[in-house]
């Protein structure tokens, strides 16, 4: 069986629905999530103060590491020292305002909503799928349970974050790469069956 999309024009994402082996339930399901995505950046040397401000506002202190910190309303993913991606189900303007308020002069907020797409991956084959795409040891014995690496999946830059269970992950990719990312994910998941819900 040739690569699923070898002849589908590069601009096209795979169609929604079932792909690959007809296994039930499919090894992987992929769905988009409609969330606001905002970059939070502490000013140089002000990370601690920024964290304190965020903690005071959101009830938990985002860790200054490549991990996911959940608060009641906002998920913070460390992407660089003093820098996080904040995800929330509320409108981005609300999130931006809350973050700006929390940071005060300790940092900046840059709205990325609409430009970053969040994909939810779930299913028994997700760990194997990630093994194919990510050159990082994500095995629970080696990586913290809240590990959220920013990395590259075979030429597509992405941030990965835990999705709650061992086989659930979320993936943030730039919108211009969405079709390419879906092609790659679905092609790699095909042997275990894949359902695309986008």
């Amino acid at each position: 069986m040739a690569d699923l999309f070898a002849h589908l024009p590069a601009s096209k994402a795979p169609a929604p629905g079932r792909h690959g082996a007809p296994i039930d339930p499919p090894g992987v399901t992929i769905a988009t999530q409609d969330v606001a995505v905002v970059t939070v950046i502490a000013r140089p040397g002000r990370a601690e103060a920024a964290i304190a401000g965020l903690a005071a506002r959101f009830g938990a202190a985002p860790r200054d590491a490549a991990v996911l910190t959940r608060t009641e309303t906002v998920d913070f993913v460390g992407i660089a020292p003093g820098r996080w991606t904040a995800l929330a189900a509320e409108p981005s303007a609300t999130l931006v305002a809350a973050l700006e308020d929390a940071l005060g002069e300790t940092g900046y907020v840059v709205d990325q909503s609409g430009g970053q797409v969040v994909l939810a991956l779930d299913g028994p084959a997700v760990p194997d799928l990630l093994t194919k795409l990510v050159a990082i040891d994500l095995d629970p014995v080696a990586a913290p349970l809240d590990a959220a690496p920013t990395t590259v999946l075979a030429h597509v830059g992405a941030t990965l974050l835990p999705g709650g269970t061992a086989s659930a992950w979320r993936l943030i990719v730039g919108r211009s790469y969405l079709a390419a990312a879906l092609r790659l994910l679905v092609a790699s998941a095909a042997e275990r069956g894949c359902e695309l819900r986008v």
């Binding site: 069986m1 040739a2 690569d3 699923l4 999309f5 070898a6 002849h7 589908l8 024009p9 590069a10 601009s11 690959g20 082996a21 970059t39 950046i41 502490a42 000013r43 140089p44 820098r83 303007a93 940092g107 900046y108 840059v110 709205d111 990325q112 909503s113 609409g114 430009g115 970053q116 194997d128 093994t131 194919k132 990510v134 050159a135 990082i136 040891d137 095995d139 014995v141 080696a142 075979a154 030429h155 597509v156 730039g174 919108r175 211009s176 790469y177 969405l178 079709a179 390419a180 990312a181 092609r183 790659l184 092609a187 790699s188 095909a190 042997e191």
Partner: protein, 987 residues
């Protein structure tokens, strides 16, 4: 049929039909193609590289030099498959290769007759006359004769996959040493991967009889595997070759998922490339039996003793009706006994040694085997072997056999230990190279380390496994190494039967004979590496696994050195050949590289755009309409629409970097040649940034949105590079600057709308149209506002096309909606979507520089923008831009061109010559970087670089395009052809 009646690890209940050279045969599940061919009495399997000599099966694994076949057909045709590693399946279709018209009668075998002249490297000494004949005659002939199989006929239809794995301990090989290494480490809780190239775990234990803990070795294998399989911290990988040891504990492995099937199952990849990152590795790859060099040792029917043992014991095949054994070591006696006991007829046991352990002699006697001590095989006969001549005790005797098992002793499989450049070391007692300096983290156990006795394999494996786990901090439970009897392992080095008759081969596949080694030495090629390159010894598909040691032993002898002094060539990856497609994985065809899609892609498709690759992006090139005969007509229409009405283009591909902090102005002053710190909020400015060597790196506009917030645009191509550069400035050069950056390239869909009707159109999508009132929003203004009823937007008043225009940015997911709204709003003005082609035309008309001018070879001064460069501040590139070569008045400077005869065309890539000058490098005065036909002006125009630059405006030179055969007189002019004062922009 030479299938033994009993035994073997084949499933006699599962017969497989297969064909070889079109003829049908049968084997069983558990066979390799080699064992199935032997079982079917097929001895002649291939032809050699140079002399096209008939060849059979020599080995039983990846060391095989002779039995290379083509598998499958058409797009799935695979050349050079080793029959000894091809797992048999029902329907397998294999063919011999490198033979014409047939395997049995190969015309090229005449080469063999010329072998006295076709010695090592003869081709360097001849084929030189007449001069032209090399390319026309000799080389094509050589090429056709050389090569082995044929590539597939069409693109590979199978899918390939890649994957990563991480572990504490990687064990390579699953013989006794690999099994105990894996088990010991696994019991400690370490994460273990056990990789085995074969389709079955067990290594030599699959064909050996020596008892372990009093039971058959297979029972031990099953027991260990069962335990390993039960442990969650263990991954067992069969059909997986570890092919290379790379840096940082990264190991390359190839897993064959579907090569034992006619075609992969639906959606199943054929093979998977693994990159395994292991903290420790134990190499337990065993040892390879090696040939003895004697006349006629390549005759089909002559095999390695280890292979004979494998075929007999594992595959239940008698490789010959009657067999002799020729060896210098004890192991071959074990082989002979095993073969005899399994039903293989063994006519004689010839050992070069005169003293052999009494136990072995007794074993032979008990079986009634004839022994010829101190004997040497000096010749063989038959197209496939029919008899051998043995010299013993001064007499020569002919023995009729159709099989000969030879063994020159063992070569530990040290290959992977050499992948970091480490050299194995010679061990006289073993007459073998054993591992030397290993890659960090890798240790060696079992026969690969020179520990041949079974008990030593079990012990060293367990010890290395335990050591690795303990090293990593795991508590290793006490190890109970199983007990094994030990077969004798003595040997006396012996390489070459001097004076034997016929060609005595060292490298079978490449037809390198003992005489070639001698000739090379005589001609001064006495370094092993020279020997290799001069004779091609060790360069075949088996990479000298069999040939290397005998070859350099002969070299050592003729040069009067020891083998240790002679040394060995370097083993490099891969250990066994790796499919090229596996390295590519999914990245082929349309998925070679990810395509980046602009926010308005679907709309552009709807509007009939033709797309073009712009780096990773797919961008609309032009939007043809019915009735337009070629793209030029389309582009002319699009340009006219912008110049006269209004047009729109998606420019989201620009890099966009948000800069925040009090020191942004300071930073920009340093990275841009011109000044930015003075830029007012609500304004944008064009900037040029240079590399430290004074060459222009990128250009673009940067706007100040607030006191501490700026947005920079970069060219599409340099987006990542500029961001990296800014971070270098901030993190390495000037960490004291209070600035942070964020890429927002993905965030903003950016649409450029230009033309006299741009304002009228834009006003209709803005929530507050007052923001673009002429007085409120001058040229180079920037403002944050909203469109389409509350969608955040940023507006910049600028236009690359050179008309009244804005760039409007909205969140990327709203880009298409914005574009649709603009199209609707501008419908009454005839709004026209345009593509990169029209944009390129308009920027050339305006004399704006772009990729072809910003090619890394031009300075700001070259580009005619020298006045922009500040002299009041330091900026990156300032110092080096002052070098004499960069201010040389003869440097080609940026100017425009138009043909003197306005009906002529101009082509980019033409060089500039003075009128009357000959077309020669010495007269080269520059080149045309961009050219187009200007629909606005009605003639061709060009931009380029001319020695002397702007000082030559008004003169006439020639645009010489020898490649296309044109030579056009051109007038040098200022680069801006259209609206040079920028009135329209500011209107």
């Amino acid at each position: 049929m030479s299938r033994l009646a009993r035994g073997g690890l084949i499933d006699r209940a599962r017969p497989f039909a297969f064909t070889f050279d079109g003829r049908p045969y049968q084997g069983f599940q558990g066979d390799t193609l080699a064992s199935a061919l032997l079982a079917s009495d097929v001895r002649l399997v291939g032809r050699s590289f140079k002399y096209h000599r008939p060849r059979g099966i020599v080995g039983c694994g990846t060391e095989e030099p002779n039995a290379l076949v083509e598998l499958r057909t058409g797009a799935r045709r695979e050349p050079n498959a080793k029959a000894t590693t091809v797992e048999l399946f029902d329907g397998l279709d294999a063919r011999s290769q490198n033979a014409w018209p047939s395997l049995a009668f190969d015309a090229m075998a005449v080469n063999g007759l010329l072998s006295p002249f076709f010695g090592a490297a003869f081709y360097y000494k001849t084929f030189m006359w007449p001069k032209a004949a090399w390319e026309k005659l000799y080389e094509p002939m050589i090429r056709r004769a050389a090569g082995l199989g044929r590539t597939a006929e069409a693109p590979d239809p199978d899918a390939y996959d890649k994957a990563h794995a991480f572990c504490d301990l990687l064990v390579i090989g699953s013989g006794p040493s690999g099994l105990t290494a894996a088990l010991t480490a696994a019991r400690s809780g370490a994460r273990v991967i056990l990789a085995e190239e074969d389709f079955r775990f067990g290594g030599r234990l699959l064909s050996e009889r020596t008892a372990i803990d009093g039971a058959a070795p297979l029972a031990f294998v099953d027991r260990v595997l069962a335990e390993l399989a039960s442990l969650p911290n263990v991954r067992l990988m069969s059909r997986t070759s570890l092919f290379g040891v790379y840096d940082g504990g990264t190991y390359g492995a190839l897993e064959r998922l579907a090569d034992h099937l006619p075609v992969p199952a639906p959606f199943q990849p054929r093979q998977r490339l693994w990159k395994i990152v292991a903290k420790r590795a134990v190499l337990a790859a065993g040892a390879l039996d090696r040939p003895i060099v004697f006349g006629g040792n390549d005759r089909p029917g002559v095999m390695l003793a280890q292979a004979v043992e494998t075929f007999v014991a594992r595959h239940a095949v008698a490789p010959a009706k009657t067999m002799a054994v020729f060896a210098n070591n004890d192991a071959a006696w074990t082989t002979a006994f095993a073969a005899h006991d399994a039903g293989q007829n063994v006519a004689a046991l010839i050992d070069t040694r005169r003293d052999v352990a009494p136990g072995l002699l007794a074993g032979a006697k008990a079986r009634g085997l004839r022994t010829l001590l101190g004997g040497e095989v000096i010749a063989t006969k038959g197209k496939t072997l029919t008899s051998i001549e043995v010299a013993v005790g001064g007499k020569v005797e002919r023995i009729a056999v159709d099989g000969l098992a030879m063994s020159g002793g063992f070569s530990p499989a040290v290959h992977l230990t050499c992948h970091h450049g480490g050299r194995p070391v010679w061990n006289d007692a073993l007459a073998a190279f054993v591992p030397g300096n290993c890659p960090p983290g890798l240790t060696v156990a079992g026969a690969a380390a020179g520990a041949y006795a079974l008990s030593a394999c079990l012990e060293t494996g367990a010890a290395e496994g335990a050591k690795a786990a303990a090293d990593l901090g795991f508590a290793v439970p006490a190890v109970d190494v199983p007990k094994a009897e030990d077969a004798p392992t003595a040997l006396a080095a012996f390489w070459y039967v001097e004076g034997s008759k016929g060609m005595a081969f060292v490298d079978f596949q490449n037809d390198v004979a003992a005489k070639d080694v001698k000739l090379a030495a005589k001609e001064g090629f006495t370094s092993v590496e020279h020997l290799k390159r001069y004779t091609t010894l060790g360069m075949a598909t088996d990479q000298g696994k069999l040939a290397n040691v005998p070859g350099l032993a002969i070299l050592a002898k003729v040069t009067g050195r020891t083998i240790a002094e002679t040394g060995t060539t370097l083993f490099r990856p891969p250990w066994s050949p790796v499919t090229l497609a596996a390295f590519a994985g999914h990245h082929r065809g349309q998925d070679f590289r990810p395509a980046r899609i602009t926010p308005t892609h679907a709309l552009a498709e709807e509007l009939g755009a033709v797309f073009v690759e712009a780096g990773p992006w797919l961008r609309a090139s032009y939007f043809p309409k019915a009735g337009e005969t070629d793209w030029r007509a389309t582009v002319a229409r699009e340009v006219a629409a912008v110049r006269e009405g209004v047009g729109l283009i998606d420019v989201s591909t620009f890099g966009k970097i948000e800069l925040c902090g009090p020191d942004v102005g300071l930073l920009l002053d340093r990275v841009y040649a011109n000044t930015f710190s003075t830029l007012a909020v609500g304004k944008a400015r064009y900037g040029v940034m240079c590399r430290e060597d004074g060459m222009v790196m990128d250009d673009g506009t940067t706007a100040r949105l607030g006191p501490d917030r700026w947005i920079m645009t970069t060219t599409t191509a340099n987006a990542a590079k500029v961001h990296q550069h800014l971070e270098f400035c901030l993190q390495v050069l000037w960490p004291d600057l209070d600035v942070v950056t964020a890429s927002v390239s993905e965030r903003w869909a950016q649409i450029s709308i230009s033309g006299p009707k741009a304002r009228d159109t834009l006003a209709r999508v803005l929530d507050e149209d007052a923001v673009i009132a002429p007085e409120a929003f001058p040229y180079m203004g920037a403002v944050e506002t909203s469109v389409l009823g509350g969608v955040t937007a940023r507006l910049f008043r600028l236009s690359f096309a050179g008309e009244l225009g804005w760039e409007i940015a909205v969140p990327a997911d709203r880009g298409e909606a914005l574009a649709r709204a603009l199209l609707a709003a501008g419908a009454e003005f005839g709004i026209t979507p345009y593509g990169l082609e029209a944009l390129a035309v308009m920027r050339i008309e305006k004399g704006h520089v772009s990729g072809p001018e910003l090619n890394g070879q031009t300075t700001i001064a070259d580009l005619g923008m020298g006045r922009m460069a500040s002299t009041k501040k330091d900026w990156i590139g300032r110092v080096m831009a002052g070098r004499p070569g960069l201010v040389d008045p003869n440097r080609p400077g940026f100017v425009g061109f138009r043909p003197v005869d306005r009906s002529q065309r101009l082509s980019a890539g033409a060089h500039l010559l003075e009128q009357g000058a000959a077309a020669a490098t010495a007269n080269d005065r520059g080149w045309i970087s961009s050219a187009t036909w200007s629909p606005t002006l009605g003639h061709a125009i060009g931009l380029g670089f001319l020695a002397g630059g702007a000082a030559r405006i008004g003169e006439v030179v020639r645009a010489w395009d020898g490649l296309r055969g044109t030579d056009v007189a051109v007038e040098v002019c200022a680069p801006a052809f259209y609206d040079p004062e920028g009135v329209r922009l500011r209107g």
